[in-house]
């Protein structure tokens, strides 16, 4: 009996689809958490009282300095040893989200810091509160500087989800490997996985480029 790529793809479709969903889901959760935590983290890095600032700085620098895989393994095995029992999926999300948040915090901090102090002062002078200054004056200007590195981080996170296959999270990579183990069509199915990751990340990059153009007019 002749194996065809399409025939094998149909056989593996549910398992691969499950992998796609898991990869997309984890990527989305991690990026959204990273953006929200990064915004808060960035604000704390800039405006927090000194002890908070120092703690955040420690968090950001430590997490950015550890390989993601080590974080993932620590989160999965280390937490289990400490008596915290979480699934591979949760452990993976925690590790990636922690890593993503650290990078995003630094991105937000840099973007907020790069806005001339006169912007905050002019916003204060018309009576805007801290919250209003951030939402209407700082964030729109910071956006242009946040988007390119944030997209980079997002792309790295999508790639990083493949590391979760090591602790047994059934993502695109693990589903692909399981498929290959059955049909030995190594090239075809790794190529399929590559295409998936490429399309996903290329879309992210294009979105980034669009936003960058959109905010490109902001000059001082």
């Amino acid at each position: 009996m002749q194996r065809t790529y399409l025939g094998e793809l149909m056989k593996a479709k549910w398992s691969l689809l499950q992998g796609f969903i898991t990869t997309m889901e984890i990527s989305a959760i991690v990026i959204v958490i990273g953006l929200i935590a990064g915004m808060i983290g960035g604000l704390l890095l800039v405006y927090g009282p000194k002890p908070v600032r120092l703690l955040m700085r420690l968090y950001v620098d430590v997490l950015r300095g550890i390989p993601v895989l080590v974080l993932i393994l620590f989160s999965y095995y280390g937490l289990a040893l400490l008596g915290v029992n979480i699934s591979a999926y949760t452990a993976g999300v925690v590790a990636l989200a922690g890593f993503c948040s650290a990078h995003m915090s630094e991105t937000f901090r840099g973007a907020i810091d790069s806005i001339p102090v006169g912007q905050t002062e002019a916003a204060k002078a018309i009576g805007l509160t801290f919250q209003q200054r951030f939402i209407y004056v700082l964030l729109p200007q910071a956006a242009r500087r946040i988007v390119p590195p944030a997209i980079n981080t997002a792309v790295e996170m999508v790639k990083g989800t493949t590391l979760l296959s090591i602790i047994g999270v059934l993502d695109v990579l693990l589903a692909t490997q399981q498929t290959i183990a059955r049909n030995y069509m190594v090239i075809e199915f790794y190529a399929t996985a590559m295409l998936f990751y490429f399309v996903l990340n290329f879309t992210l990059s294009r979105m980034g480029a669009y936003f960058e153009r959109r905010f490109g007019f902001i000059r001082y």
Binding site: P116, G118, Q119, E121, A122, A123, K124, A125, I126, G127, L128, T129, F130, Q132, Y136, V137, P140, Q141, F215, F217, I218, R219, Y220
Partner: protein
Amino acid sequence: MSANPAASATSESAEPARNLLVARDVHKSFGQTEVLKGIDLTVTEGEVVALIGASGSGKTTFLRCINLLEEFEQGSITVDGDPVGYTDRGGSRRRLSEGRLAAQRARIGMVFQSFNLFPHMTAAQNVMLGLVKVKGMAKAEARSLADHWLARVGLADRADHHPYQLSGGQQQRVAIARAVAMDPRLILFDEVTSALDPELVSEVLGVMKDLAKSGMTMLVVSHEMLFVRDVATHVVFLDSGRIVEEGEPHAVFKNPKSDRLRAFLGRFTDIIGDITAR
């Protein structure tokens, strides 16, 4: 003869001028360096007070204290009867909450040397932001008020331009419109023409002159001595964090009493030789 002279005195001047700004013994240090060494200043309604002095004398710092952009350690500043920045309950001096500070700042306008327009907003949006978010005005109403003030500063046709599409002089006029539209009790101007090309200075000074005529209370830091002489009702000379001399501009320029002021004015004689002569 009136039996009650005090009563007749008040009836003659129907409404005595209000003190819009009262600064009392304001001290401010940056680290070990005392930059303001006890400033006393009163600005009454409708007055245009010019603050002059050498670089580093503390003019900017004083303006920033009034608008709560800078904290000061001692003394008090009252704007239209409201002590700004601090409460003094139970003998301990405390910085007001962020919300209170914001509300106080909304009543004090400020125009900066570097314009500081919001670059992601059009001229009209720059003016509208405070009206909508701080004063709670409806967008349409804010827009028509913005259009009104932009027209007043000669920029009716630039309302939908972004700052980068405007010249420095135009940007500064938008910044003035943004401050005035909030209907502040008092507007602070900090060397608002210093960053402008010489040919653009007069259009901004013109707008300020117009504002002064309309009765706006203004505290103006400026090195434009002709403007000070012609527009200010009162001039204050600051030297090393102290007010050394003050009075009516022509008088002060003609007969400076202190050596410091004489030396300071001497620097301007090249440009405005007639300043003390008149």
